[in-house]
Symmetry: D2
Subunit: 346 residues, 4 copies
């Protein structure tokens, strides 16, 4: 029995990446693709890379259509819109994995401070934050998953084991993050114009990015107190890829090996976290197209400052891939089902 | 029973791409990786993108080792070296797919004019030119396949159906080809230095490239007479991708639709040739990472000149992917086995 | 006495490039910058690269303002709009250099077939086609110059000397042209989105581009009969740069040296045409940021086919630089005044 | 009277950039170009971008030739080699601007800990650190200038005013720096191979880079005590450009405006430091090709952490441009002479 799957917002970059991954997933049948902008257009006219491989035509958003033909729905829409349709989907017994920010927060107030009024706050109690390596047990039982943001995924995976073990001075955390352009989505804008990005590197929304409170909220759960990190994102002249460089002062003397060992035991047997040894640092190119998160550890000995590096593909582990991983966990499939394609060697 | 497979020259770009594809191939077990430069080094230290996914260590070149543990061998070496080891492999009963130019030519003299003296000319009689969509029947029975060059693959797939049907004035053919940098291999050189390629576009070896006689030789078989095309390659500032734009005068009045129909019937049921309709032209991005060859057709009505476009990933359909496809044909597997990963939507 | 200069459409890419060049021009004072989209905004807020270097604020389009404070006006606007304002400027005694297609054609009918009805056809008689190296004598006396398109500039400079000398079979000309993205302008669109262009190469408007009739019209003047070339543009993943590869059959046996000699004598003492010797082919990188046109010549000996290469920066020699060069000629300044900055070595 | 100038190491990227800048400098005559690798080759064969613009042929290294025909010599060589030739040049009365690390340190021991034994330690007393905006008065009188490293330039310009004014907790400084590939030089290597850099982003030499002690040494002079910053460089997929993001805790409560005001008064009237207002952050693209250093300031209010951004072109302000600026200061020319070309708007 195949899992009948619908993708809402299928023609954005995260949605199209879901199509790519799910079209090759052996336990899944894609039954419906919805797109407000391209309703009526064959999906592969919008994404000719998948020409001949996906023969569905995009449909307008319609909840009844989803409840009629889906077991699980991925909503890959701008925040605010999922709040409007997800309650009905969940009420109909569907499982929902939402890639927006709408169901990532436990407290509506935190969401509202960063986004806008929340119109389905009652669902926040039952929604589970879909950081797979950390919350798998709760994801298994969830009807609704709030798929993590790309920056939070890259930041939380290296930090959570160390924060949980009280290895870090929580107030010392500085995150210098860098993302490829696909994270900004497919809508044309001056900031994603080729000539404005090419041969350019710059920070944006320094200490003002909406992923900052998402990071703070999740870390606070593990720190046992309110955490506020300094978070500065930058835009890289590349399509896919995200690297976060994280600086923190250890709470007590530890070595890079201690830190590596802490992570190794935390991520033991998790297929998508790859811990780099002493001789390697993560490179966005080494994870592109894959669901891997590569993590590296260095210690600045003179300043006793820990430096962590983490690389993901923002569209895969940072969006569509983690969403598929969440579905796999919800359906008790192999966690890596449909996610085994290897990164390009070059 | 898994096919025991060895890759010689595994740490070049084509070799590493073979590793990527074969590591995920369900009928294959990679038993040995050989590399002159990296003998003794774990393969995934050379290609950290595959870290944890391939646990073989590179070995030095050794024919006996190959005959002891392989059913089929891929040789991904600079031309001249395969001539030295392939005869022994074939004599031992192994199947060999050679990615160099050494076994692509029927006539040693043509090879020797472009390369150097041929030291195993007797094998040219039994080697088969591995352009899968055209020579599948002969490949099925072959012990030795000469895997086509990347440029010839991109040029021959659109041209052969038309030349065979006598639709073109053979002497009018002009090929303006463009390739990504990975085609030049992994050895560092000024011409592959990032700063020399980035924001740069230029022709090289205009009308002097060694793939020109390869194209001429194969086309001549279908034209029934000696063919000499004008072929000018250019270097694109990108890693993967090849686009050939081909200009030719029709032998008699035909429309773009006639030409499309000729190709459609020729490539009927071949999974990797995608013929673009009127509304689309091939884009290297749409085939990157895949074994597809996308072909487009236009007619310049005022000048009655046919324009063909063909896009491939030079490392996949232009090298490693077609080599795997050849193996599939030789072993009567599904032609697309191990080659079904979809191109990235973006 | 400084030349008082206005730029209309100053915030498009060609307009901003005019600002860059004219701000450093020793005989020029920029008196007014006009922009429909950014009226009221300081120019260097729109282009922070020029922060602190240009202190004008963009103004709305207003003919009287131009006539009041300018000697010469550059109009860098989408075609159709210049036709509406240029007649009044010329009537007021200003000199005008228009970067759109509106004043490039001698025959209104040719313009109208490619664009739209021409509303100032009487001006076509007095406007001069601003290909500086070819029409300098007429430009000197012109009140209105139609600045050539980028593709035509790159194509006509290598072809005109050969067509004039009757060295080519006119009907054999095929032009395979490639342009950087800045040629498409600054307005955001899916086709200029970073993720759609990066790692992508494709043709567009094959044999349907509006620069094709512009090329045909000018070549016809030199051929003494109607010329129709095959012209296929492609989009390069880079910001600046254009390379045209031109194929043609010689009318009678000539060598590459003969062709080089023909060009050398034609462009003798012209500072911006650089003829490459036997050992070099043009590279877009070698002309980026400069007003140079680098030309290379090769002969395919077996097919007796001539191959020409020409590289320009589409925003400089293909737009703003040539416009400044036209102004220099009109004002009998050194042709290279304000255009002497050297290309980056890397 | 023109300043007779020689460039030793003229065919590396920094050397070639010196040629580009000095060829257009109105007070300079380039009399000799030296290159170990390309002795005997015309310079513009090595750098065709400058074809026809520079007609010198590269010569082998020879001190007597320099003393015979130069007033000032730029040495753009790998460290260690300048120590061998600079003493003789200085002894002959020439002025020398060395772009290597050999004369950047006051204490030989610090140099030796990071590099190798210093063979001309007596010159360290008279050599002046060529950070123009900070040490201009000493540079004016110097016979020998140690031109700063690219990373130190980008880091020291924003930090020195704040450290001098005691605005920062010195021990809190973390520098996350990112550089384009040209900083690694022209010698081919795997790390500068196009396919290894393209679509890649990664850190390297984390907390181990040789520019770290250079930064520490200079900051210590202003802090009045030993400073040790955490410094992590990353490699950007672009040719030119460097952005440093600097995190520090204020020593006492200050606002971003206070910090901006401190810098504004420090760099008052210095033509190459551009302080961004509240609404803009530095972008490498905005300084490419120019000698500007763009600086931005942000405060993370919740964490009371100051964030500084600084962008330079690593080959210009980070190498050749600052070297020319040093020469201008030494010769009491306008500081910006030969350095006024504007960055490209796009």
């Amino acid at each position: 029995m195949m899992i009948r799957t619908g993708i809402v917002g299928a023609t954005g970059y995260a949605g199209a990446e879901l199509v790519r991954l799910l079209a090759a997933h052996r336990a899944v049948e894609i039954t419906v693709l919805m797109s407000r902008q391209f309703a009526g257009t064959p999906f592969d006219h919008v994404y000719p890379a998948l020409s001949g491989m996906v023969d569905l035509t995009c449909e307008p958003l319609a909840v009844e259509r989803l409840t009629a033909c889906c077991d699980v729905v991925f909503t890959a829409l701008p925040h605010r819109i999922p709040m409007e349709i997800v309650p009905a989907l969940v009420a109909s017994g569907l499982r929902v994995i939402d890639l927006s920010a709408d169901f990532r927060f436990e407290a509506a107030a935190v969401y509202e401070a960063a986004y806008q009024p929340h119109t389905a706050p009652e669902l926040l109690k039952q929604s589970v934050y879909g950081l797979c390596e950390v919350f798998a047990e709760r994801i298994e039982k969830a009807a609704l998953v709030g798929n993590p943001g790309c920056y939070p995924t890259s930041v939380l995976l290296p930090l959570i084991p160390l924060v949980e073990k009280r290895l870090l001075d929580i107030d010392s955390i500085v995150i210098d993050a860098k993302s490829g352009v696909s994270g900004a989505g497919r809508s044309p804008s001056l900031t994603s114009h080729y000539c404005e990005v090419n041969e350019s590197f710059k920070a944006y929304k320094a200490a003002e990015h909406r992923h900052n409170p998402e990071i703070d909220a999740v870390l606070s759960r593990f720190a046992g107190r309110s955490v506020g990190v300094t978070f500065v994102p930058h835009l890289l002249p590349m399509t896919r890829g995200m690297l976060s460089t994280i600086y923190a002062t250890p709470a007590a003397p530890v070595s890079a090996d201690d830190v590596r060992e802490c992570m190794r035991s935390y991520y033991h047997r998790r297929p998508f976290v790859r811990l780099c040894g002493k001789d390697r640092l993560p490179d966005t190119r080494h994870v592109a197209g894959s669901n891997f998160c590569d993590i590296g550890v260095r210690m600045d000995p003179r300043r006793r400052r820990l430096i962590l590096f983490s690389a993901i593909d923002n569209l895969v582990k940072g969006a569509a891939g983690q969403a598929v991983q969440n579905m796999n966990i919800m359906y008790r499939l192999e966690e890596s089902e449909g996610l085994t394609a290897l990164p390009f060697p070059v």
